[in-house]
């Protein structure tokens, strides 16, 4: 059996007396579709920051395809295939949508250091970006500055950039939060069509979204994994219902 | 090296440090508290200093000259805040840096066209010009006065900023202007007053420190690096950082000049770079943005 796409063992972090992550274990196989849920303050954001390297864990190991990455910088982890989307917009607002994607492609292919061969290399990046955006139904908006796009398209662009990096593991941080329902459809479609081989972990509040997407759900409460299992098990679990689902679902 | 001469060096360092503090504390307010990249701090100081020297030349006393310097620099600051700074508050570091650099040129040019290129003479009153017996030796009264003035200013600032409603409102206005407007705080007035106060302090500092940093056409540029360094090392948190930074830099500079006269400016700038890299956000860092 090959190593899991991502494996987390005993991840621990505290800020003083506040234990924000306690011995978290998590393992996703290639192509997994999992969701991370938990009430506000459960440590979901901290967990994502620990995975991506924005925060450094006090203890624990993170491996991608069996290789440790927990000592690497955030950017180096991205180059190893651990990619996230952001809850709030972090797009390059003055740059066109296609160039936003092309930049990611350039980084992925390692050609972003190329200084003098501009026509050919950059044109190739743009061409792939155009294909990616057309695929997601961007149409004529691809040339618009990212900051001027409607909110839904901005979130879609965020996903397009993440896919362009060809991640092994993709962390989707509330991909549809704040998107008007009229524009949400395109995002749902994009999520349904994420590459089969990529392991995806969705961090989400919206239970409809979670149950629609996930084959496996991890419940995080107070920095610990309360339980994990198939959606049906989670929905049926009394403890989960009291700490979490009880508040959003009758 | 006797203990007494070491004490004298320390006292000299303290006096120079306080001079630095007095002259850059206004910048701690505009750049530190209000977070405006104000490269024109030296220009406002110059306006005050020139006004003070004109007053002295026309027979005003030292105290009156300081008041006039404060009013001139504060008035100029008030006008500039209205016309030039306010539209730039939301536009980031670079436009502010560039505009204030241009403003510095305008002030230098205008003052020089009006007053010529000679150094402005700033005679001390007789009570400060002499020496005072401090037990183990006679020491220049002016330096003791600087130390006292610096300490007094620090105390006043602490009272106003930490202990009054105005200080609380100012901090709130900087952190969240929209919220403050919503609850009825007059943010514009607070910013205008505070900015003018920072400039007035610059004017006072220019007169007080004129013996160590003489007023001449390029004053605003020559000492700009020094003012910025004080605030940069002190951190944008509050004036206490600047106080510590001024004293540390004053001591490093004075001790360096005394023991290694050839290398003192290296030591100074090496210390500056070291301190900035060690504490990139200053000794008393402001809230992260």
């Amino acid at each position: 059996m090959s190593a899991p796409a991502i494996e987390v063992r005993g991840l621990t972090k505290s800020f003083g007396a506040l234990h924000v992550a306690q011995l978290i274990d998590l393992s996703l196989a290639r192509g997994a579709r999992a969701a991370l849920i938990g009430p506000n303050g459960a440590g979901k954001t901290t967990f994502v920051n620990l995975l991506t390297g924005v925060l450094v864990a006090d203890a624990g190991a993170i491996s991608l395809d069996g290789a440790r990455v927990d000592r690497l910088s955030p950017a180096a982890r991205v180059r190893r295939g651990l990619v996230r989307t952001h809850q709030i917009n972090t797009l390059l607002r003055e740059t066109s949508a296609r160039e936003n994607v092309a930049l990611a492609i350039a980084e992925r292919d390692g050609c972003a250091w190329r200084m003098l061969a501009y026509r050919r290399v950059w044109a190739a990046c743009l061409e792939e970006a155009d294909a990616r955006l057309a695929d997601l139904g961007f149409g004529a908006s691809a040339d618009d500055a990212a900051g001027s796009l409607p909110y839904g398209l901005q979130r879609l662009l965020e996903i397009a950039i993440a896919i362009s990096l060809k991640p092994r593991v993709l962390l989707l941080d509330e991909p549809a939060a704040g998107v008007p329902s009229g524009e949400a459809h395109a995002i749902h479609t994009a999520i349904d069509r994420l590459p089969k081989e990529t392991a995806v972990l969705m961090i989400e509040h919206d239970m409809d979204m979670v149950f629609r997407f996930a084959q496996e759900i991890v419940v995080l409460v107070q920095g610990r994994v309360l339980m994990r299992g198939a959606p049906a098990e989670i929905a049926a679990n009394a403890e989960v219902r009291t700490v979490y689902l009880g508040r959003s679902r009758p | 090296m006797s203990v007494l001469s070491l004490l004298t060096i320390l006292l000299d360092g303290l006096a120079f440090g306080m001079a630095l503090f007095v002259i850059s504390v206004g910048l701690t307010i505009t750049l530190g508290l209000m977070r405006v990249v104000n490269l024109a701090h030296g220009a406002f100081a110059m306006i005050g200093g020139y006004a003070g020297s004109v007053a002295l030349a026309n027979g005003a006393g030292f105290a009156l000259a300081i008041l006039i310097a404060a009013l001139a620099a504060g008035g100029a600051g008030l006008a500039a805040e209205r016309l030039l700074f306010r539209p730039l508050y939301s536009r980031g570091d670079l436009p502010q840096a560039l505009m204030t650099f241009g403003l510095t040129f305008v002030v230098i040019a205008t003052l020089t066209i009006l007053f010529g290129t000679a150094i402005r003479i700033m005679p001390l009153p007789p009570s400060l010009a002499g020496l005072v017996d401090i037990g183990f030796r006679a020491y220049p009264a002016y330096r003791l006065f600087l130390i006292a003035a610096g300490a007094l200013l620090a105390l006043l600032l602490w009272l106003v900023i930490d202990r009054t409603m105005f200080g609380a409102r100012l901090r709130a206005a900087v952190d969240n202007p929209r919220m403050c407007r919503a609850i009825g705080i007059d943010v514009d007035a607070i910013f205008a007053t505070t900015f003018a106060a920072g400039c007035a302090l610059a004017g006072i500092g220019a007169v007080l420190g004129a013996q160590l940093m003489p007023l001449e056409p390029y004053y605003a540029l020559r000492y700009l690096v020094l003012f910025l360094i004080v605030v940069g090392i002190g951190g944008t948190g509050d004036f206490r950082g600047s106080l510590v930074a001024s004293l540390v830099l004053g001591l490093i500079d004075t001790v360096g000049k005394y023991f290694l006269p050839g290398a003192s400016s290296y030591i100074f700038f090496a210390a500056v770079i070291g301190l900035l890299l060690w504490r990139p956000r200053g000794l008393v860092p402001g809230p992260s943005q």
Binding site: T95 | G102, V272
Partner: protein, 321 residues
């Protein structure tokens, strides 16, 4: 096709005009060379500040380092101007790489202070290393040999001008190429949002160091050209005023605009030359006011203003890039 040919003509015309200056304005050769040198210097700043977003108040240091390196090289090693240029470019680039590595993980105000402090320290070094630099008397006695061993620097400055133009042309072509490359686009990305660039795997700090070193090397070339043209280097070339001046030129011309640096240099250097003879402080007043006006009202500088007039003149020709 027509648009493309027009595009090429637009890009070539200023260079052709610059060559023509050699015959049109033979009395102003040294002034014209200064415009080009300042333009190159401002272009180097545009790369670091305009594109990569490195807010530096100490760019004069690299100009000065290049000037001193070229001067010292010419006096002590080899008088060949191109070799001197290469040496200066290399030294300035190296200083840029080393100082960049030291300071480029900071940003904002701290970065401004650090650039200022490092520039001040380099100036202090030049001041105290009198044996090498001549201290505050300046460095004199630079006598470049003929360019490529063929073209002597003539009394009227024709050789110096055409030599400067050739060097500036080469650097500008390289700079434009870099700005259109993936690397150049990634710098624009870092300026807008470094966190986003990290999120797509970009080694942001390394890329900033590369941009800074490149920009420093370019500024060093400009300094070397200045030293070879005036045959002297003064301490002022390293100073705050040099750093401030190049900031003004870049902003005045318009940052991130193809011709911005050269437009700014043209206006600044020519204005300086004529106005400063009459009264340097009145010129300073004008420059200061222009600077304020540009920041407050014309964010894109003179290049933006030219665009605006162009659009007025031809109201309905949208689309063509």
């Amino acid at each position: 096709m027509i648009a493309r040919a027009g595009n090429w003509a637009m890009r070539a015309a200023p260079w052709l005009a610059a060559i023509a200056v050699n015959w049109i304005a033979p009395d102003y050769m040294s002034l014209a060379a200064s415009v080009l040198t300042m333009g190159l210097f401002a272009l180097s700043l545009d790369l670091a500040l305009g594109h990569a977003g490195i807010v530096t108040l100490g760019h004069g240091a690299f100009y000065g380092v290049g000037a001193y390196a070229a001067g010292i090289f010419a006096i002590h090693v080899w008088a060949d101007p191109l070799a001197g240029l290469a040496a200066a470019t290399l030294v300035a680039g190296l200083v840029g790489a080393v100082t960049g590595a030291l300071i480029l993980d900071t940003s904002g105000l701290t970065l401004m202070m650090l650039t200022l402090a490092i520039a001040s320290m380099i100036a202090e070094f030049a001041n105290s290393a009198r044996d090498l630099t001549g201290g505050d008397d300046g460095l004199t006695g630079i006598r470049p040999s003929p360019v490529l061993g063929l073209f002597r620097f003539d009394l009227w400055g024709h050789t110096a001008y055409l030599y400067t133009l050739a060097v500036v042309f080469v650097w500008t072509m390289i700079a434009w190429r870099i700005l259109g490359s993936p690397f150049g686009h990634s710098l624009d990305g870092v300026r807008q949002n470094a966190a986003r660039m990290r999120a797509i795997g970009a080694p942001v700090r390394m890329r900033l160091i590369a941009a800074y070193a490149l920009s420093a090397a370019m500024a060093g070339t400009a300094g070397a050209l200045g030293a070879q043209a005036t045959k002297t280097v003064s301490l002022a070339s390293l100073g705050v005023l040099t750093s401030g001046t190049v900031l003004m030129v870049a902003v005045l011309g318009g940052m991130r605009r193809r011709w911005g640096a050269y437009l700014g240099a043209l206006v600044y250097v020519v204005g300086q030359n004529f106005a400063a003879e009459i009264d340097p402080f009145r010129w300073m007043l004008v420059i200061g006011l222009m600077m304020i006006a540009v920041v407050m009202f014309f964010e894109n500088g003179l290049a933006g203003l030219v665009d605006l007039l162009d659009r007025r003149a031809r109201p309905s020709t949208g689309g063509g890039k």
